[in-house]
């Protein structure tokens, strides 16, 4: 469902993403790992058509990110880093706006809201302005807007950042529940999360893919925990 071909993006002299290629199929949950500044967010932003690549391309659900950005955006749900939203709006107003922009109207809108509000547990803050919400609730609202149109592809940039352990557990359960019908890319720093939800993992550093494997295979190959695998892989790259 996602096919990335030699995607590259620079910011001045900095190469944020350096010719990365990979494919993700339906039913896969891909964990995108890497140190800060590795290029995870830039890669995800390119897949979500927020940033244009310098070279290379990708297709999402058969649509090219350069030639058909609107079709790509229609077929994905994207949760940006820090879950930005319109602070002055209420949760209800914000989700209604997302429905309007995604052409979900009338009965379909009601059904979408009835499904997503309990799913993301935002019912208790539904009429509250987003500015007054805690970090956890803001992230849940971000998840709700990403899932409201029931997309085939989900791109989640650190979906559990700032959540308490219970909320983290709930989000992981939610991802696991949706996993078999969707294609999901999750970026995270939490390695236990990768073990819990991801069927595959890519470790990226300085814009390059260092490892593309499954969490189980990585542990078997390196004979250590995923934490240590991460350190070994990314430090080897640094010292090289």
């Amino acid at each position: 469902m996602i096919s990335v071909k030699e995607l590259r993006r620079t910011f001045g002299p900095i190469v944020a993403v350096d010719d990365i290629s990979f494919d993700v199929a339906k039913g896969e949950v891909l964990g995108f790992l890497g140190p800060n500044g590795a290029g995870k967010t830039t890669a995800m932003r390119m897949l979500a058509c927020f940033l244009a690549p310098d070279s290379g391309t990708a297709t999402v659900c058969g649509h090219d990110i350069i030639a058909e950005p609107v079709a790509v955006r229609e077929s994905i749900g994207y949760l940006a880093e820090n879950a930005p939203a319109y602070g002055e709006m209420t949760v209800a107003g914000f989700l209604n706006f997302i429905c309007d922009a995604r052409r979900i109207a009338g009965k379909a809108k009601k059904e979408a809201l009835d499904r997503i509000v309990p799913m993301c547990a935002v019912g208790s803050v539904y009429h509250q302005t987003i500015d007054t919400l805690s970090k956890g609730y803001r992230r849940r609202v971000g998840l709700a807007q990403a899932l409201i149109h029931d997309p085939d592809v989900l791109i989640l940039d650190e979906p559990t950042d700032g959540l308490d352990p219970n909320q983290k557990h709930e989000v992981r359960l939610l991802i696991n529940k949706m996993a078999k019908d969707k294609c999901i890319i999750v970026s995270t720093h939490i390695l236990e999360e990768v073990e819990e939800v991801c069927t595959r993992t890519i470790i990226i550093a300085s814009g390059k893919i260092l490892v593309d494997s499954t969490p189980a295979l990585l542990k078997e190959k390196y004979h250590c925990s995923l934490d240590e695998v991460f350190r070994k892989v990314t430090r080897t790259k640094k010292s090289a």
Partner: protein, 243 residues
């Protein structure tokens, strides 16, 4: 079209969800009234709105950029631009949606000046055509300044910087056409250059509309001004959205 509508609706509602709209409207209406009566509205003993309309360019130089400064600077600073531009919305749709919403808001501000024409009608027998063309000119003037402000709002994440740049740019568009400026320029520039500057300034086209003459070239001037700055805003936004 649905994307444009969604952005338009959200933006227009956004003004009234915060105190911004009310603060703006109160300040605008106060100064619009104050400047009109300060300039001898009663003393000239004429049933027209010249005193009201002739002060609007000066008032708009400050008021319109204050409306425009948040349009994109706030989106970029809060990161909500990443939500907006990963929805099935193109940059031109988002820019136009926001621009039209802000223009409608300024239109509401102009509509709320209705007591002034009511007073004029009560006191005398004004030329209604002159009042209507004056309002059309004022609305276009607001649109022109708003397009300039929208561009500078996309240029900088900092609302204060975008406000100052917009005020300077709008001020140049107004003062370039002032008789004193043109007199000065005629001493240092050849006559054709002065004529070009006069034609490019907002003042000449606005005053032409205030005289009750709705000419194609004046309307075209405002639309070219709006389309040009809006197009530039779309380009700059595409370049800088992630910076």
């Amino acid at each position: 079209m649905h994307s444009f509508k969604a952005v338009f609706k959200r933006e227009l509602k956004g003004y009234f969800a915060t105190p911004i709209a009310y603060v703006f409207l109160v300040i605008f209406l106060f100064f619009a009234g104050y400047l009109t009566f300060r300039d001898g509205f009663y003393e000239i003993r004429q049933a027209d709105m010249r005193a009201f309309f002739s002060n609007l360019p000066l008032l708009f130089v400050f008021m319109v950029p204050s409306t425009a400064m948040r349009l994109w600077a706030e989106e970029r600073k809060s990161g909500s631009i990443e939500i907006l531009l990963t929805l099935p919305v193109t940059i031109p749709q988002a820019v136009i949606g926001k621009f039209i919403a802000a223009w409608c808001f300024l239109g509401i501000a102009l509509v709320l000046t209705f007591p002034v024409p009511l007073v004029v009608c009560y006191l005398g027998d004004p030329d209604e055509g002159l009042i209507i063309s004056g309002y059309i000119g004022s609305f276009l003037l607001a649109g022109g300044f708003l397009a300039v402000g929208t561009f500078f709002s996309a240029l900088s994440k900092n609302q204060v910087i975008s406000f100052i740049l917009s005020v300077v740019a709008c001020g140049i568009l107004v003062y370039a056409g002032m008789p004193t400026t043109l007199d000065y320029l005629s001493n240092i520039l050849p006559a054709p250059a002065v004529s070009v500057i006069e034609n490019m300034s907002i003042q000449m086209h606005f005053h032409s509309l205030l005289k009750g003459v709705i000419e194609f070239r004046d309307i075209a001037y405002f639309f070219i001004l709006i389309i040009g700055w809006i197009a530039a805003c779309s380009i700059i936004l595409d370049e800088r959205k992630a910076s």
